[in-house]
């Protein structure tokens, strides 16, 4: 067995933080994605234009640049705001928050397209039927549209999640002690870079496998009761 020289626990702590960051960014990104998708399908030209510019920008710029821009940019803005209130201390945005915002922004841009496709896949008659029953627009959205959007969007969201899970490693660049940062610390003590980066790779692989299995189970659950043609 490979000797991790007592750093095993540290790597697992890093993995826990990686998962927390991934879930927090996914939650934020899902909300942004849903909002953008409804803007893209709205009647307002301004709304559509804004949503389209958002997705173009956040899908065309490297995630590393977004992470660095949010972290260093927010630090400058926050410090300037603090100066207005008479504080001379530099204010720093916590790397976890910066990472969650940056990865959530990027997730939202990709999720918007997935949700747009899912909303368009809904049969119009269902919403019309719900409205005819006297449901309000928002109630029809919540009771009829949303549960099915989830079913249509899940495969696409799953793919974005797997990309996001690996992108969390970028947040090590701004000092968050997730897997990669913990690994680099272990490397600087042990001088065994290959062993430890390989251990990190294995942790990511395990997380990817577990996520894939979990996403499969969620898809089966979301599709329960859906009739399928016999094969």
């Amino acid at each position: 067995m490979v000797d991790l020289q007592g750093f095993g626990t540290q790597l697992l702590l890093g993995a826990a933080l990686t998962l927390e960051l991934a879930f927090a960014s996914t939650a934020l990104g899902t909300l942004i994605g849903l909002g953008l998708a409804s803007l893209k399908l709205s009647r307002s030209r301004l709304g559509r234009g804004l949503a389209d510019s958002y997705t173009t920008i956040f899908r065309g710029v490297p995630e590393l640049i977004i992470v660095l821009l949010v972290y260093f940019g927010a630090t400058i803005v926050l410090t300037n705001v603090a100066r207005l209130f008479g504080s001379a201390e530099p204010v720093e945005l916590h790397p976890f928050i910066a990472g969650m915002l940056a990865l959530g922004f990027a997730f939202g841009a990709y999720a918007a397209e997935v949700f747009r496709g899912a909303l368009q896949a809904l049969p119009r008659g269902q919403i019309e039927a719900a409205r005819a029953f006297g449901m309000s627009r928002s109630l029809a959205f919540r009771r009829v549209a949303l549960p099915q959007v989830w079913r249509f969007a899940l495969p696409g969201l799953g793919n974005i999640f797997l990309v996001l899970l690996k992108d969390t490693s970028l947040v090590s660049v701004i000092g968050l002690e997730e897997i990669m940062r913990k690994t680099s610390i272990a490397v600087s003590y042990t001088k065994e870079p290959f062993t430890f980066y390989l251990a990190a790779a294995v942790i990511y692989l395990v997380m990817t496998i577990v996520s894939t299995i979990g996403l499969g189970a969620m898809e089966r659950r979301a599709n329960r009761g859906v009739r399928r043609a016999a094969r």
């Binding site: 640049i65 260093f72 400058i76 490693s169 870079p193 790779a201 990511y204 692989l205």
Partner: protein, 231 residues
Amino acid sequence: MNVEVMANSVPKLLDGLALTIELVALALAIGIVIAIPIALARVSGRAWLNGPAFAYVFFFRGTPLLVQIFLIYYGLSQFETIREGPLWPILREPYWCAIIAFTLNTAAYTAEIFRGGIEGVPHGEIEAARALGMSRVLVLRRIILPRAFRLALPAYGNEIIILLKASALASTITLLDLTGVARTIIARTYMPIELFAMAGAIYLVVTFAITRAIKALEHWLSPQTRPPRPA
């Protein structure tokens, strides 16, 4: 916003862009050469070919590119045989480590894209070619690969853009690519918002140009979908 700093940084950022494009172009070119045999191994139906190809693809798609870069750049130095070996002058250079990591990474994704393309070639076309007396190799060269390439082109275009954005990670191993140059200028001027926004805008222009080029290539390679030219 300091517009003067942004304008003055452009020539240096464009130098960085040259390195970014060089890294991406080299990795894509070598990546295709590696990806084709892997894709063929994946569809071969033979376990001893499919197994290793699957493991390769699984590892490189299941771990973050940052881990792969660090494994090659920092990791390999752990082994004395490599440090004393003939390849060390190459493997200690961040430039070549980045190229190797990008190449192996993009080859894994490209192999899966090509596999999808190969599986999408209509069965009848292959049977027709065989019936005309073409050998298996000739069928592969004249029918399967050209058709598979056309089918895979939209997905491959996405992979080019993903790799272009991922190449920002070259800056983590001291390379002065577009992101690396931006980070160096920021270390001197401390204007992260201006520089990262400028670098991001340059990436955006390049991704836009690539998207357009791929669209044009798709159009050019699909004469059957164009309306007939007036006589």
